[in-house]
Symmetry: C2
Subunit: 329 residues, 2 copies
């Protein structure tokens, strides 16, 4: 397999944690990795190939402008490696909007795809994660785009989690088709008539972390708010529970309780999910969260490999191409 | 103080838990309560006044239609008791949409208010709750309505939690004013120029359960999705943690851990919040969650009393009236 292009400069803990993750990915997964970034900033590349890029796009930079003006940035160069057939996938923990823009502008869209979407895995204890799509690529959406998000999310859930016929729900504020915004009502009508997906109707916020649905479709504004709301509430609870259990009052019972909770905490850990997938661009692109550790990078590289080898892009092309009346490939 | 009108028929556990909550509210709070509902269904009213209403609006009924056609329903009659000066407030755990419609149609809007909004308290460990507004009254909103939600949410946070100058954030997908939908960008510009509130700019989903913001303003679609997402994730975690701690493997340490977590669990318990407040109607109206227990009803009645005695409606009238250039009363 071609190597994975890893944006060494992206993320709150870049480049050290990213480079450390790259070394671990090579050792643990046997995957080749190309580090993309400023050679002077990459202290310890060892035997990894460094693809030089002189510029960096920061977490707070305006995505469209940054990608347009910083053509020699690590993000843009990583996307070019995929476009040019030198890498099988790209992974970045940097600016999400700029990652979307780089991938979109350099790799291009899959034929027939109106807009790309971010598919974020939401952990569900005792079950496969729920794929939330769009988790933030497109703040304002049209019904037809959401139908494609449903198709692409369905293909992704099948490829990633081995589900035969993923259940697709439309996020709304009531189960009835009459509930929600005009966007939701129009999308509901379209999804009910879309072949090739298993549409189970509207779902609500409380269903996202349940085993009752596999893919939850929404616009990128609502999806991003939901994703960050979940992150915030889980973080807050983990901190609160940790505080209680590590208090002197808790003593031995607290220590033991944290041991018992470790498997649950690990399943909820954002570092364990392998990152979010950008769907609809003509290449595999993984967006790891901003505070990614080396472990998060190892997991993201593993998913990148699986999706490149598993033919995700080809499957997306077939699903969307079939739906727009194009030839099956 | 005038009695609180309690919809005895509303909620998944009505009428038994509601009536039980009414008795406890009288005993524990010294507040008078009028039970509104079908006398034949209220087994044990004891010395409480029962205001008869022959019809019931179910949880799944279409709100607008139900309120229009069932004029002798417990919800509509409860709202009329407030309108007619016979009750100081109404409380219902029934159909949220129908509660909003009943209050709106029978009590009317506060002069100058464009649309009512549901203000839901989101628990924050170690801090006062964050007021999320609108949590579901208006699925699609205009910027001017959101400005009023900010004003009303601010007054509510001050009256309810004693905050002198509540910090108001606008829910978006990035802190920058340029992020979000057209609705968010337009609202951001208006809020920046609105006197009488302390606007701290955009906030993200992860800030809702933090002590950094007191009032989070959003449209009713996003707000309702957020509220139910939080409910779902907290429920799921509580169940998962409970399962771990009560397993044979956990033994004594598990039992002790649950004891230690009890104060945190209680703070997160939806029954403890006192319910959501409908802001903008000309009377105090509390929407308790559908699965309300007797304890939830006691807490809701306590908040109803506090808000009626504390002059919430008068304060809302002054805030919105001042902003629209009307006379201060």
């Amino acid at each position: 397999m071609l190597p994975v292009a890893l944006d060494a400069m992206g993320g709150d803990r870049a480049p050290a944690e990213i480079v450390s993750g790259a070394h671990r990915a090579v050792a643990e997964l046997g995957v080749q990795v190309i580090l993309v970034g400023r050679p002077a900033d990459i202290d310890d590349p060892r035997d990894l190939e460094v693809h030089p890029a002189s510029e960096v796009i920061g977490m707070g930079d305006d995505p469209a402008r940054a990608v347009r003006t910083r053509k020699d940035s690590s993000l843009v160069r990583a996307a070019e490696l995929v476009r040019d057939g030198r890498a099988s996938a790209m992974v970045s923990a940097g600016n999400t909007g700029a990652t979307v823009a780089s991938a979109l502008l350099r790799m291009g869209r899959i034929k027939g795809v109106s807009r790309p979407a971010v598919a974020a895995p939401i952990p569900v204890p005792g079950s496969t994660p729920t794929v939330l799509v769009d988790a933030g690529a497109m703040a304002e959406c049209q019904p037809g785009w959401l139908v494609q998000f449903a198709q692409m999310g369905s293909v992704y859930a099948a490829t990633r989690y081995g589900l035969e016929s993923p259940r697709v729900g439309l996020l709304s504020i009531g189960e009835e088709a009459s509930k929600g915004t005009a966007l939701v009502k129009d999308t509901h009508a379209l999804l009910s008539d879309t072949p090739g997906i298993r549409f189970i109707g509207n779902v609500e916020g409380r269903d996202i972390m349940s085993p009752e649905v596999d893919v939850v479709v929404t616009d990128g504004f609502t999806g991003n708010v939901v994703l960050k709301t979940l992150e915030g509430s889980l973080n807050m609870l983990v901190r609160s529970i940790g505080g209680v259990m590590l208090s002197p009052e808790a003593g031995q019972a607290g220590t033991r309780a944290l041991e018992l909770l470790a498997p649950l905490a690990e399943q909820m850990d954002p570092d364990a999910t392998g990152g979010a997938m950008l769907l609809g661009v003509d290449g595999v692109c993984i967006i790891s969260h901003g505070s990614s550790s080396a472990t998060a990078i190892v997991n993201a590289v593993a998913v990148a490999r699986d999706m490149a080898e598993g033919g995700l892009v080809e499957a997306l092309r077939a699903a969307v191409g079939a739906a727009v009346g194009g030839p099956r490939r």
